[in-house]
């Protein structure tokens, strides 16, 4: 049995991709337990970020970059408690971490061929598919079925156009949209997110992001995405929606 602290729950098709932190002699490392079939856990996956879970993991016969954290599991999960966000953050800071963009995945970033601000990496060059990074600012951009985010890193660099796949932030933004009626809903919720929510997030001392890489697209590009944004959004913040 391997015990993991569940650190990232991200949307993947109709289900979730999950990542946990495994304690090592040096600190923590990220492990992506895979369900018995496919890459995504079903929508009924009931565990929350911070949960201590036990898995029976195996090493896949051929690990392919950049998803070197993949570990097939039997799907048998045993819960063994839950860590606070503060403790989880301490563990995340003791896991894979970068100060600069070039250190995120140990490889070169490529600009979007479409002219937008999003960046991608070549799968074969990336040494991992998840990494934490301190951030100093953020700004959301909402689309009907997907949110994107721009981040200012502690290094002063920016990452823009990152798809937000963090389960909690997606659910929060969807709830905000659900509570907003009338014209220009997206623009109004975006403004709410970039003013009131952003202000509360930036005041939080545990500001941290985990940036991940999805499976490569048809053209062989792995686009950077936001796997997790700490702190988690609070439903009470939605009371400020006018």
């Amino acid at each position: 049995m391997t015990e993991l602290i569940l650190s990232d729950i991200t949307r993947m098709g109709p289900g979730f991709c999950i990542i946990g932190l495994e304690q090592t002699a040096q600190g923590f490392r990220s492990v992506r337990p895979l369900p018995p079939v496919g890459f995504a856990w079903p929508i009924t996956f009931r565990h929350q970020r911070g949960a201590r879970l036990r898995f029976i993991l195996s090493t896949p016969p051929n690990i392919s970059r950049p998803h070197v954290e993949d570990r097939p599991s039997s799907g048998a999960i045993e819960a063994a408690g839950k860590e606070s966000e503060e403790k989880l953050l301490a563990c995340l800071r003791d896991a894979e971490i970068a100060e600069k963009i070039q250190d995120l995945f140990g490889c070169a970033m490529h600009p979007s061929p479409f002219g937008g601000p999003a960046v991608w990496v070549t799968p074969e060059e990336a040494v991992r598919s998840i990494c934490g990074i301190p951030i100093e600012n953020l700004r959301f951009k909402l689309y009907p079925d997907r949110a994107r985010i721009a981040l200012t890193l502690g290094s002063g660099e920016t990452l823009r156009g990152l798809p937000v796949v963090d389960r909690y932030w997606n659910e929060f933004l969807e709830e905000a949209l659900g509570r907003t009626q009338g014209a220009n809903r997206l623009q109004r919720v975006e403004q709410f997110a970039n003013r009131i929510v952003r202000e509360r997030v930036l005041k939080n001392s545990s500001l941290f992001a985990r940036v991940g890489l999805p499976r490569a697209d048809d053209e062989g590009r792995c686009w950077l995405m936001l796997d997790s944004l700490v702190p988690e959004p609070q439903l009470a913040w939605l009371d400020a929606i006018g």
């Binding site: 061929p113 951009k141 981040l151 200012t152 002063g156 697209d217």
Partner: protein, 428 residues
């Protein structure tokens, strides 16, 4: 020959097709106008959002609606319609007349403002000791009671960020809607420039341009005239102007004579300027006339440059500089008065450079206006360089920026800097 409306529709369609073309999956050919780009597999969800972002960027539009939100198909026709309904952000080429080119307005308003000061307040006595000055040299001689200095972790960027967030918080627009960022600092050194760093820190739009302008103590006025030019030309609807200085980092005790280094403090100011046709409070101050020049006869009175041995090489003829500065500031105000037809007696205040408090008192006496019309900056914060004028203006706008137009008067800006560069402006 096509009619203007037909030409515009054709231009919109061309932009949409170009944006779609850039994001098409490798194996796909350009779809027809009515084909659903997602259902047909021409685009994946990532590509679809790239198309929306591309359209906003190329067409100069803000928040182009996703047609699917309106229950429409994800096709080219719906996208063309969505562009037509979106508000314009940035000026477009003359070939796209109906894409939302703003009619250039000769009127520009100050809709947001803010300032930030170094968090450590150093008393004059402490400064006199640190800079090896005779007791009373700063307090009695220059009239400085205290100086605001950056604390640990504070620098030009952090002060600029704080001032900018206060200024942007006053306007309904999102920082992503700022078209240009113009910064000025007399202490920031190195690259990326202060403007580039601030752009990233504030997460301004990736299509927001950056200008770093010089001028030292005239830097704010230089930045304001550039902002006004961009707005009047229709190149922008919203410009953020920021000054920031951290003198304590470049003039620490021992690096320059105390009579000079002890005068300076650390601070920042920020202003949001918008063209008249954008959303704004009706009482906002308008940006009026400018005056600029260079009085080279006094250029030798102040020179600051890097020393070949490291550190700072300084030429500072305090008395000559003071005489020239006060005379020039008076001249700027007189010229602005003549040019605008607005009398100094009617002014709500004077946001001038304040080399030291004694010179502010002298200027007030010479132009015969109450000293109370000069916001207190140098006396409690020190000479803030590029930001002196800005912090003074920000304080005046705190007091008068939201008063009804008929209950407040103009604000005169006047500044002098090494060279001797000079510049002034009037807000009304």
């Amino acid at each position: 020959m096509s009619k203007p409306g037909e030409q515009a529709a054709s231009d919109l369609r061309r932009i949409v097709r170009q944006c779609v073309g850039r994001s098409l999956r490798a194996s796909k050919t350009m779809p027809g106008d009515e084909e659903d780009l997602l259902r047909s597999g021409a685009l994946d969800s990532m590509g679809w959002i790239e198309v929306l972002a591309c359209i906003e960027r190329v067409a100069g539009k803000a928040n182009v609606s996703d047609p699917r939100e309106l229950g429409e198909s994800a096709n080219i026709i719906s996208l063309v319609r969505a562009i037509g309904n979106a508000p314009a952000v940035q000026g477009m080429s003359a070939g796209l007349p109906d894409l939302g080119d703003r009619a250039s307005s000769s009127q520009v308003r100050v809709t947001g403002w803010g300032n930030a000061l170094g968090s450590v307040q150093q008393e004059a006595g402490w400064l006199e000791r640190e800079y090896g000055l005779a007791p009373g040299k700063l307090r009695e001689g220059a009239g400085i009671e205290s100086v605001a200095r950056a604390g640990s972790g504070e620098d030009e960027l952090s002060l600029a960020t704080k001032a900018s967030e206060i200024a942007l918080g006053r306007v309904p627009a999102d920082p992503a809607d700022v078209d240009w960022l113009i910064t000025s600092s007399e202490t920031f050194q190195g690259f990326p420039s202060l403007g580039a760093l601030l752009h990233s820190r504030l997460l301004l739009a990736d299509t927001c341009g950056v200008l770093d302008v010089g001028g030292a103590c005239v830097g704010l006025v230089n930045a304001l005239v550039l902002a006004r030019s961009l707005l009047v030309a229709g190149t922008a609807v919203r410009v953020l102007v920021v000054t920031a200085d951290a003198h304590s980092r470049v003039f620490p005790p021992g690096s320059v004579p105390g009579e000079f280094g002890g005068l300076f403090g650390d601070g920042a100011s920020a202003f949001v300027l918008e063209s008249l046709d954008s959303t704004h409070p009706s009482s906002a101050y308008l940006v009026g006339h400018f005056r600029f020049g260079c009085a080279g006869a006094f250029a030798a009175a102040l020179a600051v440059r890097p020393s070949p041995q490291g550190g700072v090489q300084l030429t500072f003829e305090g008395e000559a500089l003071a005489r020239a500065a006060v005379g020039q500031l008076e001249s700027i105000i007189r010229d602005l008065e003549s040019r605008s037809g607005l009398a100094r007696d009617s002014a709500s205040g004077f946001a001038t450079h304040q080399p030291n408090p004694r010179l502010v008192e002298l200027l007030a006496r010479q132009i015969k206006v109450p000293l109370a019309k000069f916001p207190v900056v140098a006396k409690t914060c020190g000479n803030l360089g590029t930001s002196t004028c800005g912090v003074a203006l920000s304080k005046l706008l705190d007091n008068h920026g939201q008063e009804p137009r008929n209950q407040r008067g103009p604000i005169f800006l006047a500044a002098v800097g090494p060279g001797m560069l000079w510049g002034g402006a009037i807000l009304y």
